[in-house]
């Protein structure tokens, strides 16, 4: 497939982003640049200055709702993209309601327990929708330990073991690597479906 064919396919696709922090912003921007046509963004939080070291936001966006700031950044990068943003703290019953129409769901929240809730809800409520999650990205280096794990329609990018702590903080490069792996996996799913 050449770039024009890829762009034509991606422009018809819908991707859900659950969580607009370090993973969600980097994955969404990458997918917007690749040409994904429609995004459903969900987050309840605001952009904080002390998180600009790892999230794809800018200083003049501090204090704004993350989903609105990310919507603006996606539209700047790809003016053709349609972006629907929801100021929601996700609970299990919301997952299908918000993401039912998505071709792929990117799970990009920070807390492990919330990840579990979103993944479980998605598998139960929309089993035909691939879920691309990110887990295990704290610290720096150890690039070779980052992998894509798959079972059925669930894909998990990361090392599955690097828990954030004082000695293993969040740092932009490893977060961006995992987010790029998530975005790349989304493209693989969307383009493979079209190829089949």
């Amino acid at each position: 497939m050449n770039r024009e064919q890829i762009s034509a396919i991606l422009s018809e696709k819908v991707v859900g982003i659950a969580g607009c922090g370090g993973l969600g912003t980097h994955a969404a921007m990458s997918l917007a640049r690749a040409g994904v046509g429609t995004f459903f963004l969900v987050d309840f939080d605001i952009v904080q200055e002390n998180a600009l070291d790892r999230q794809c936001f800018y200083r003049n966006q501090a204090g704004r709702l993350k989903m609105n700031a990310l919507k603006e950044n996606i539209e700047d990068a790809n003016p053709e993209a349609k972006v629907y943003a929801f100021d929601v703290r996700l609970c299990p019953s919301d997952v299908a309601e918000l993401f039912q129409s998505c071709d792929v769901l990117v799970e990009a929240v920070d807390a492990a327990k919330t990840k579990q809730t979103i993944i479980e809800s998605a598998i139960r409520q929309m089993p035909g929708t691939p879920v691309v999650s990110g887990a295990g990205l704290a610290g720096y280096g150890r690039t070779e330990e980052l992998k894509v794990y798959r079972k059925n329609n669930l894909y998990i990018c990361g090392d599955l073991k690097s828990q954030v702590s004082d000695d293993l903080p969040h740092l932009a490069p490893r977060i961006a690597l995992v987010a790029a792996m998530q975005a790349n996996t989304v493209l693989e799913i969307l383009l493979r479906e079209e190829d089949a």
Partner: protein
């Protein structure tokens, strides 16, 4: 002896009954939060604590740690 494959590695368990929780307890790591598939079927946390395993079962376990 009950033989179970956990993340493609064969493990032997002694005893009359082995549950998914027994396997999770044996996994070393820094989380107690998992996504579990038994053979090809997703097993959620409401079920897997008491889910009994049989000889030859394949368990896929994804530990979940912090994202960003």
């Amino acid at each position: 002896m009950i033989k179970i494959t956990v993340n493609e590695e064969e493990k032997n368990y002694q005893g009359q009954e082995v549950t998914v929780q027994d396997v999770l307890d044996d996994l070393s790591g820094n989380t107690s939060i998992f996504i579990v598939f038994l053979n090809d079927t997703f097993v959620d946390r409401l079920q897997y604590l008491s889910q009994t395993l049989s000889n030859g079962d394949e368990l896929t376990v994804f530990p979940l740690v912090t994202g960003a």
